[in-house]
Each structure stands twice: as C-alpha cells, then as structure tokens.
C-alpha cells in the first residue's frame, strides 16, 4: 500500500539535517521503498510503498520512528521533537453511552470519549493543506480531525453525532445476511452475514465498523455533541467484509493490517485535544475504554549466531542489541527483547529479528560470495533439450513461433473445459483444451501478411480430468501447428522429417503421426496437434551406423496403376518386403491413380546386375498383383 507523507508533517516529529533525497535513499535501503518525491509549494511529499507487514508505518509517526533509526546510521542528525498530548480533563461528566458487545473477539479494544459544545466549522489552513497534500478532501473541523489522525498516527477513527445514536446505546455485533446500511458516501449497502456493525437503541445500523460510518449518525453543521471513537477490530473480519463489499477504504486497509494496541489511547487524547482546539468543544464523559483482551508481553530470545547464519557476516552482539534498541525492542535480562507494541503482529521468530537487524545493518553492505557446497546431481529433464530441437527445426522450416494466452472464449473449447470463476473478459473465460483454435485465429488475424503462413506453439492445454495424486487437472504439453497455403503432402513431409530429426523409429513415428492427423480447415488452412511428451519419449540422439558398401546401386522408376481402396503404405510395404536388396523406396510422383516410385537396388555383398534387378522386379509385380496393383504399360 502506498502512502503520501509530506516532509513538513514529518517535522512535527523529528528534526534532521537530511535533505529529502537523503531521506528517500535511507528509507529505501533500510526500510521501505520511496517511489517518488513530489515537490509541492515549499514542501516535499514522499510517496512510500509500505510493505503489507508494516501497518505500523502507514503514518507520519511510523515513518518518523523509522527515520530516527536509519538517518543516524547514514551520518545525519535526527532528533525526536514530538510531545504527546496529555489527557484532557473532563469538564462535566454528564454523558454516557451504553455499550454491549456480542462477541469480545470482534472488538479487542473499544474506546471512546463524548464531547459537548461542538462548534462546527472549517479547519485551519494548515490542517486543510496537509490533508490535501495527502489526497484527502477537508470536510469540516470534526471529520478532518479523524482523517488527520489516521495519517498522523495510523489510527483510523470515527466520529458520531452523539444525539443521533438513539437511546445512547451501541450494540456491537455481526450482521445477518441481507441487512442494509447506508454509508457516509450515500451508498446503500446490502450486507452479507458476519460483518461487524453497530446497532443503536432504536435498532438502526449506525456504523459499518472499520470500513465506513453510516449516514444516519453523521456529524453535520447542527451537531452539538460528538462521540469520538477509536477501536481495534478483528483484522480478518474487517478484511473479509471489505473484500466482499468491494469497498476498500483507507480505514479498512489499516485495520486489516493490525493496529497498535497501545497507540489507541494516546491517539484518542491527541484527537480530543485537537477537537477542543478547533471547535471549542469540551469533554463531557469519562474515558470509555473496554479492553476485551490483554495482550501478553511478547519476548523473543536473541540468537546472534542465528542472525549471522543468515547474514553471512559477523555482526557482533553489541551491535545486534543496539540496532534492536533503536527500533524500540527493549532488552529484557541477558538475551531477551520485548517486541514493541506497534510491531506486535509482525515479529514472531528469530528470522524476523534477523531481518530487523540485517536490514538496518544494510543489505547493500553485505559482500558477494560464490556458492560453494556440493553441486546437486539431479536427473536431467531431457524434454528441455528436445523442446529446443523441435523449436529450431520448425524455425528453420519457416515457422513463426507464437505464444497465446492460456484462457480463451467458450467457442474455442467445449462445454467440458475448465472455467475461470473470475475471468478478465468473456473472451477469456475458459482454459484452452487445444492450441489449434487460437493458432487458427492468429492465421486469420494475419491473413494479409503473406500467402503462405506457418505458425506453431508449444504449450500446455488443460483437461477436465484430474491427476489422482496431485488433485490437479492434466496439463499435457502440445505442439500445435497451423499452416496456410502449404500443400498437405508438404506439411506431412515436415512432420516426418521432424520425427526423423528426433531420431524416432519408423514405427514410433508412424504411430504418433497417425494419431495426430492433419486437419483441413478450408481456404488452404491445415492444422495438426501433436502430444509433446509422446514425441519426446521416442526421441534419441543415438544413431546406428550401417556400413557403406563399395558397390553401386541401380535406380529405376516404376509407375503403377492403383485400384480404388488401395493406399500408399500398403503398396510400399509390399514392395519393400519383396526383396532385401531393395535399399530405398521413395514416392516420386502421382498422376490420378498412377503412382511412380523411385527404387534403389543394392546388394551389400556384390555388385548388383541388371539380371538381379529383373528378378527382383518380377517378385514385386507378383506380390502387387495380389492387391490389384499393376505396372503401367
């Protein structure tokens, strides 16, 4: 979460000789990243990306605390100048509020003060200007105080018009499904069950706790009495409610990260002091402070060896404790520290302590060391090698490699495809079950590019069938190929040649190619999808050498007339099996049903003669006659 902090505001807390750039650098290197510094008038506003674990730093106070630690390490002076506002006196203790809490876990701490004699008006310029600098619209002297305190202390607050809390009664409870509350922004919100709300004596919902107040109890120009309200809520409940309502307010984002338990009362008195000053109001009640849970002290043992096992350098014990002390970790006894209240949620284990120490010591100050230790001997996944071979093969055969999104529209997949619950758009609602539809779209989209197009992708597809062990869908990797303007036979040839390049046996190659048929889509578009692992399974770098003879082969072309129903592979097999001296047989040409073969005869033991070939030819004719294939005369 990013926050904006004006330099001028920080000066309420600290006095330093560091320039804004130096402050930004120190924070970035030791604490959290300062994304940019914006110069406004004569001020500088830091935009800081506070990491989710550092809810304590979503405030001027939190950033100032951090600067007190990091600036001196960079050689700058830094002095704490902020003084806490003392508790205000109760002028006239006449007002009360009747609080009932249905479940203590909802509100670990509930505190409030009632004030009378409120004069509604505008805040002074300095308050308004500071709020505007951090992007908050000034809304009058009372509301401004609550917003101001949220930025100043990181403590979200709310203020009610006391007289609009009917019966001066508050019941903190969980919503039941379907209850409606109109929030300050005027929106009617229908609640799911389990949202923390406050009901008044008349059964009205007067607060959507931790997210936004309700319209029916808001402060306006007629307000005379207010109830200032500072709470700690169950962070998980706030988060769930805010997420399910889709209403992510600054207050909710802070509450769900956890609030400084011990910061609640000081923040309350600070705000009371401000309201007194800005509106002339006076305290008219006792402090209401219901502590539903006492948080035990959190003590952690400091293990300097552990710190250095992680850092890789020798940070000595004194420095470890000195860094921790500067961060507010109080030393208890010989080797324990007490976690400060504002870091209570974040620090649990020795590794957390190590992080605190080493980040302040400076990650950038650690040396670079090469990995030593044993190099793991793992079984190599050969599929990566073959993936590369396939990609290069296709590239050098004129194919463009594509990467398409994993999700696509329902028209590209069946009803059975895995559906995305929260798709970005209807066009990306389902996981693809084949690479082909999206590749066809690629060809379609690029139709003006060239008459001949060849594209491919190697990626997973997603099946609605599950792996019993991992309980996840089968996600086989496929090779998808789409061509336009490429002859059927040429594409088939590319696939055979690919299989050959991978070292596939003839049988394996036939098996895979026959189970991955080439589909025709019209407009001279073809597609084929091959299972990657089936192909890789048969791939090998091994080759068997056949001795080269010194005898010459005799080559001749033969043309046969093929009757209907007989196909090439059958003829080929019969010819090849006719005699072992048939060394090579290749398809040469086709005209109607006339097939021309080029045949090479070779005898590895002696020079083959025309008498020999004549004899072989006779065998071929005889065998082919059985299936009705005859020599064309």
């Amino acid at each position: 979460m990013n926050i904006s902090i004006p330099y001028s505001w920080l000066k309420d807390y600290i006095k330093t000789d560091a320039k804004p750039e130096a402050i930004a650098e120190a924070l970035s290197l030791h604490s959290f990243s300062v994304e940019k510094i914006t110069d406004v008038d004569d001020d500088n506003i830091f935009e800081i990306e506070v990491t989710p674990n550092r809810g304590d730093a979503l405030s001027v106070l939190g950033v100032a605390r951090e600067l007190m630690v990091v600036l001196p390490r960079k050689g700058f002076k830094c002095e704490w100048v902020k003084k806490d506002t003392p508790r205000s006196e109760t002028k006239e203790n006449k007002d009360t509020i009747d609080v009932s809490i249905s479940d203590k876990t909802l509100v670990p701490r509930f505190s409030a003060v009632i004030m009378d004699n409120v004069k509604y008006g505008q805040s002074p310029k300095i308050i308004r200007s500071r709020l505007e600098k951090v992007g908050i619209r000034p809304l009058g002297n009372i509301i401004d105080v609550t917003n101001y305190m949220m930025v100043d202390r990181g403590q979200p607050m709310h203020v009610f018009d006391y007289d609009k809390i009917l019966g001066h009664k508050m019941i903190v409870r969980e919503s039941s499904e379907g209850e409606v509350v109109q929030t300050l922004d005027g929106v009617e919100r229908k609640l799911p069950a389990g949202v923390i709300v406050i009901e008044d004596g008349d059964g009205r919902l007067i607060d959507l706790c931790g997210i936004m107040g309700a319209k029916n109890s808001e402060v306006d120009e007629n307000t005379k009495k207010i109830l200032l309200f500072v709470q700690v809520y169950d962070p998980v409940k706030i988060r769930k409610a805010s997420m399910s309502l889709g209403h992510r307010t600054d207050a909710a984002l802070r509450f769900e990260k956890g609030i400084d338990y011990e910061g609640v009362i000081p923040a309350l008195w600070e705000s009371v002091g401000m309201v007194e000053k800005l509106s002339g109001a006076t305290v008219s009640s006792d402090l209401i402070d219901i502590v539903n849970f006492e948080r035990p002290e959190k003590l952690i043992k400091i293990d300097v060896d552990k710190v250095n096992k992680i850092s890789g350098v020798g940070i000595n014990k004194d420095e470890v404790f000195s860094i921790l002390d500067s961060l507010g970790f109080e030393k208890v006894g010989e080797d324990l520290v007490k976690v400060p209240s504002w870091r209570y949620e974040d620090i649990d284990i020795p590794e957390d302590i190590a992080e605190e120490v080493i980040r302040i010591y400076g990650y950038h100050a650690l040396p670079e060391v090469n990995l030593s230790g044993e190099v793991p001997l793992k079984e190599k996944d050969v599929s990566f090698y073959w993936e590369k071979v396939i990609k290069y093969f296709l590239k050098y055969n004129g194919f463009f490699e594509c990467y398409t999104y994993s999700s696509t529209s329902i028209r590209n997949v069946g009803e059975d495809a895995l559906k995305i619950q929260n798709p970005l758009s209807e066009d990306m609602s389902h996981l693809k079950t084949s690479l082909i539809p999206q590749l066809l779209e690629v060809v379609e989209k690029n139709s003006g590019f060239s008459e001949i197009m060849k594209v491919f992708e190697i990626a997973s597809v997603y099946k609605n069938s599950f792996d019993d062990v991992n309980k996840i869908p089968d996600q086989p990797i496929k090779i998808g190929i789409v061509t336009k303007g490429v002859d059927y036979k040429d594409l088939k040839g590319i696939l055979s040649s690919l299989a050959h390049t991978l070292g596939l046996s003839y049988e394996k190659s036939e098996e895979i190619l026959s189970s991955s048929p080439i589909n025709e889509h019209g407009d001279s578009i073809l597609s084929v999808e091959i299972d990657f692992y089936s192909l890789v399974e048969g791939a090998t770098k091994d080759r068997v050498y056949t001795p080269i003879t010194n005898f010459n082969f005799i080559r001749e072309d033969l043309t046969f007339e093929v009757p209907a129903g007989v196909l090439y592979p059958q003829i080929k097999r019969i010819i090849v099996e006719s005699d072992e001296r048939i060394d090579k047989l290749e398809f040469k040409d086709i005209y109607n049903n006339y097939l021309t073969f080029s045949i090479e005869y070779l005898d590895s033991k002696k020079q083959i003669s025309s008498e020999d070939t004549q004899e072989i030819r006779k065998k071929i004719f005889k065998n082919l006659e059985k299936i009705g294939v005859t020599l064309k005369v």
């Binding site: 959290f32 990243s33 962070p235 040396p367 090469n370 990995l371 996944d381 296709l394 594509c402 996840i472």
Partner: protein, 345 residues
Amino acid sequence: MNNLEDVESIKKYLDDRLDNASSAEDVLKIKLEFLGKKGFISKMLADMSKIPAEKRKEYGIKINSLKDEIEGVIELHSKKYDGSSVSQYSDLYKSLPGTKPNIGHLHIITTAISEITGVFVPLGFTRTRYPEVEREYFAFEALNMPETHPARDEWETFFIDSPTDEKLGRLVITPHTSSGQVKEMLKGDLPIRMLNISRCGRRQIDISHVPSFYQFEGLVVDKNVNITHLIGVLNYFARNFFGPDRKIRLRPYHFRFTEPSFEVDIDCGVCHGKGCRLCKSGWLELGGAGMVHPNVLKAGGIDSEIYTGFAFGWGVERTYMMKSGTKIDDIRHLFSNDLRFLEQF
C-alpha cells in the same frame, strides 16, 4: 590431321584452339570445326570404309571415344561463356540480394528463457517445470500465506470453477512460480539448486501486465547458505545476462514466504547507480528474493535448523525487455501474435 594414329595431336590442336578462344562464338566455331558435318570426326567416320573390315570395330570405338572426349572438353569451355550474353550485366546480377531460404522466427520469450537458463546452468542449477493450474495449498498456504492474510491481495489470482479439495483448497492459476518451491522440496532430494521456468497467470492486463506470462524462479537449499550467497548468484546473473559491468543490490521488502525478503535492483547500464536522466535513481527494479521462510522449509519436510535456503524469481518477459533494449513499449505485443511483430525477432 585426320590420321587417327595422331589422336594426341588432334587433342593438342583442340587445346590450342580453345586457349585462343575468347567468346562463345569462338567456341562455337571450334565446335563446328571438330564436330560439325565437315569436321574432323565426320571425316574420320567417312574414312571408315578404307579400314580393313577386321579393324573397323576397334576403329569405330576409338572414334566414338574421341568424339565423347572432344564434346566434353568443348562443353566445359563453352560453360565459361555461359550467359556471356549477360556478362556485361554480371555486376548488377551480383549486386542483387541473395535468395534467402525460408526461415521462420522463434518467439522472444523462447529466446529469453534460453538465455536465462544458459546463465544458471553453469552454477549447477537444474531446470524444472511446474504446473500452471495448481491447488491453493501450493500457491499460498505452503508458502506461509493463510487464506485470510492480506498479503494475498498482492496476487491477482484467477480461480477455476471446480470443486474445492478438502486438504489442498481451491484450484487456481498459479500467480507465481513459487508454487513449485514446496513441491521441489517434497521430492526429498537435497541439496537443491532449482531453476523453475513456468507459465503463470494474474488477473491483470495493461501496458505492463498480461494475464499469461512466464516467471523464472531460483531456489537453493543447502547447509550454510546465507544472504551473501544470494548476492553472489544474483551478481553472477547480472554480469552474465546484462553485462560484465553490471551489479545488483538488495533492499528490504516483504514476502510471506521469505524472511528476510528483498527487492532486487540492478544498477542502471548508463550511470551505474549514480543517477541519470534515464533512470532517475541510478537503479532499476528487477524483482523479489529472500531467504526461504522456516515455515516453507517445514512444509517441504526440511529441517530449518540444519538447512537454509534462498529463492528469487521474477518475470521472464520484463527481465528480457530490460536487457535487450528492444524498445517494446507494451508487453501485450508479446501475446498479440502479430506476424509483423514476430518476424522482427
């Protein structure tokens, strides 16, 4: 000259004549002189009748072989002047562009993956792949991110409409390669130096985000591994991938699955960390890293008192775009599959 006994002289004469030839016309003349109707060979054949019958066969063979030889030699010579009619344009011809074989293009993501892999393999890393559609447990819980944790907001996760598994949770498109960490650990094969490059998905689409993308993730688990080793590996990567004079730095960050966690910056290739107009601060953000959280090691069945580890991982596309100065202004081009884009790589 027509004495067949003097075959050698005939050949020599032919050679002389051809040596003096300077054009295709010259060669044609010579051809007629030897092989034409009134040429030497014709005359010799005409002389056949004068040869005694018993020697005629031998004589015929000799003439034929001479004829073949002459034809061959002349043929060879006439090739010299082949296209001699365009000889005056030969410079122009040679200045034409070559006929290129029809070669396609590998996608820039493939190139990036291959380069990244090439850097880590010599350090003993083994490449793996882990599934894109994964259970919540491996994408989050095993990485120390319970369901209610606000840290989960950072991942714009896609959920799949499918029954929830009692133990492993909902089905998601993994938003990061870190979902492979615990799976790799559970193989029980230590030490680990894994390089997982896999497809991920997040619910984002804009100039710098696409809903499908690739991440690479390094994971090292061993005895005595600390932050200085992480810096060592990342600097090795910076030098070998971005250039020998580049270096990284670590800054504090927060991830639930590492403790401590870092953001990794690389120094600007122009000013090397000083700050210039191009980079502003002198450093550019690369991605996240950290020391593996003990809870993650525990989920992977590894004793964190004996073993430590580090992990780093970030987007393949973005990293490559930072390196190559390809000037790709919108990451969505990578998945647009416009052939005019693809043919540039």
